[in-house]
């Protein structure tokens, strides 16, 4: 269970308090007191979760979820801490690049392209990637777009999809463009292999 850590001073799992002493302390399990889910965290379906970008305080919580895959919806890389966390715990980190030609020139206001939505959804409809977390910077619009399109595949009526999307968008509210994208999304574009689909999806398609 104990992963292999190098004696590296800027290792992300350093316990701030003991850093001055000698040993780096690796947090490998949730502290007894309180655990902290990532911003905007919520279960979507069984073993499928959504959130904003997890940071080090959330790692013990993520371990509880026994994640196998994290879908990261942005052009830029997530924080190093998250990359190393995924490495250490053999979590597959999938990038659903927003704009493949944009390089690092990522504008957080850019919505997702159909291509990136489909690539994320292909992973989501495959039970082999579960337990699975879908996240972006704040867990609002990009995550909301992908989950919204998933709800369309599941045959949810649009009002419920929109209500769910807006629940996570915070005080500034939802973006019409995101909702238009969800409404116009062609659900036929995501092929579902029944042999590999999660249980809850089987009853929905």
């Amino acid at each position: 269970m104990e992963p292999d850590y190098e004696e590296d001073d800027d290792h992300v799992y350093i316990n701030e308090e003991t850093e001055l002493g000698r040993e780096n302390v690796v947090i490998s399990h949730a502290p007894r007191a309180r655990i902290v889910p990532p911003l905007n965290f919520c279960p979507v379906e069984r073993y499928l979760y959504r959130s904003g970008q997890p940071s080090t305080v959330n790692f013990p919580f993520l371990l509880d979820l026994k994640l196998k895959t994290i879908i990261w919806l942005a052009n830029e890389e997530p924080q190093d801490a998250l990359l190393e966390f995924c490495d250490a715990h053999a979590i597959q980190l999938q990038f659903a690049t927003i704009n493949p030609d944009g390089g690092e020139d990522d504008n957080p206001w850019d919505g997702l392209t159909e291509h990136s939505i489909i690539s994320a959804l292909r992973t989501i409809v495959n039970v082999e990637s579960y337990p699975l977390l879908v996240c972006c910077g704040m867990g609002r619009h990009r995550t909301g777009t992908v989950i919204g399109c998933l709800r369309r595949i599941m045959g949810w009526n649009l009002a419920s999809v929109s209500e769910e999307y807006r629940r996570f968008t915070g005080s500034r509210g939802g973006r019409i463009l995101v909702e238009l994208l969800i409404e116009a999304f062609d659900t036929q574009l995501v092929e579902i292999d029944r042999a590999k689909a999660p249980q809850w999806l089987l009853t929905a398609v």
Binding site: R34, P37, C42, M154, G155, S160, E163, E164, V205
Partner: protein, 303 residues
């Protein structure tokens, strides 16, 4: 109906635009058949826009309704694509029929409505077709969400949500947190679907000194986290306050930090978050329920 002006429009429309209208309808059916039925049920303006007529002057529903010939032709076209709109033909057959239509497309459109559909021929294909996205829309209740494992939350479920709860979530129990009598139609649905009802009447943390009794919450939690009752739906009226308090206490059993519990509470209670509810979540004495849950080995609650 009584206005002659309306009649006038209809006449003019029939004279000049029937062909165009039918062409558009066919066009939309081919490109966008999934949406047509919904569109026909929706607002007139939207429908009109879809037909590329953004004058606001035509009441397309009425035009179609009032002209028997037109109505028949439109219905005929719709039937080609929406067999499920015709009583007595199942959804899956509709899917198959749809595929046939796709193959034969135009020639099929010219055929008679009464043509018998050969079920045998297409049975073999049904598996592949069932993989396609469903045609039937489901309606989850407002404020519906997963909580953890097979625990769900929502506002008061209404008849339009029943099929979602029965077929998609496959509920075993419903826990209601209001003191009022449960509606007859909901009870009937639950009897039909074999869903058990647990009622814990709470009055909510509206005013200072009017609090949810902790004991009541403890017994509610005992039912909610008991795997024997799962999948369970917890609801009150709007799924905001009482449900939020109960879910907040479930989060405490999961050892969530209070900040994130409050954040979740506010997300579902928006825009009507109550400080007293958050206070209640913080002050709830979890010792008793923790002891019970540990004895029965319900902790940690499985994701």
């Amino acid at each position: 109906m009584e206005a002659t002006g309306e009649r006038h429009k209809v006449k003019w429309f029939n004279g000049g635009m029937v062909q165009r209208m039918e062409d558009r309808l066919r066009d939309i059916l081919e490109r966008d058949s999934n949406n047509l039925l919904r569109l026909l049920k929706s607002e007139d303006e939207e429908l009109e826009l879809k037909f590329g007529l953004d004058t606001g002057a035509y009441d397309l529903h009425r035009m179609i309704d009032e002209d028997a010939g037109m109505k028949m032709r439109v219905e005929e076209i719709i039937k080609r694509f929406y067999i499920d709109a015709v009583p007595g033909i199942s959804n899956r057959e509709a899917q198959r029929e749809k595929e046939v239509t796709g193959q034969k497309n135009t020639e099929k459109l010219e055929e008679d409505v009464d043509d018998v559909y050969d079920a045998e021929e297409h049975r073999g294909k049904s598996d592949a077709i069932r993989q396609e996205t469903c045609e039937e829309e489901v309606i989850p209740p407002e404020n519906f969400s997963h909580v953890v494992g097979e625990i769900y939350r929502s506002s008061f479920p209404r008849p339009e949500n029943f099929s979602f709860l029965q077929q998609r979530i496959k509920l075993k129990s419903i826990m209601v947190l209001i003191p009022e009598e449960y509606p007859q139609e909901n009870l009937e649905f639950m009897a039909r679907a074999g869903i058990k009802l647990f009622q814990f009447g709470m009055s909510g943390n509206k005013e200072p000194f009017v609090n949810i009794p902790s004991d009541l919450l403890t017994s509610a939690l005992e039912v909610a986290i008991n795997p024997e009752n799962h999948p369970v739906l917890i609801h009150c009226n709007r799924g905001k306050h009482r449900t939020g308090c109960l879910v907040g206490c479930i989060r405490r059993l999961q050892n969530w930090s209070l900040t994130m519990i409050f954040d979740e509470y506010r997300r579902f209670a928006f825009p009507k978050a109550r400080a007293l509810d958050q206070q209640f979540i913080e002050m709830y004495d979890e010792d008793k329920i923790k002891r019970i849950a540990q004895e029965k080995q319900w902790l940690p609650i499985q994701w």
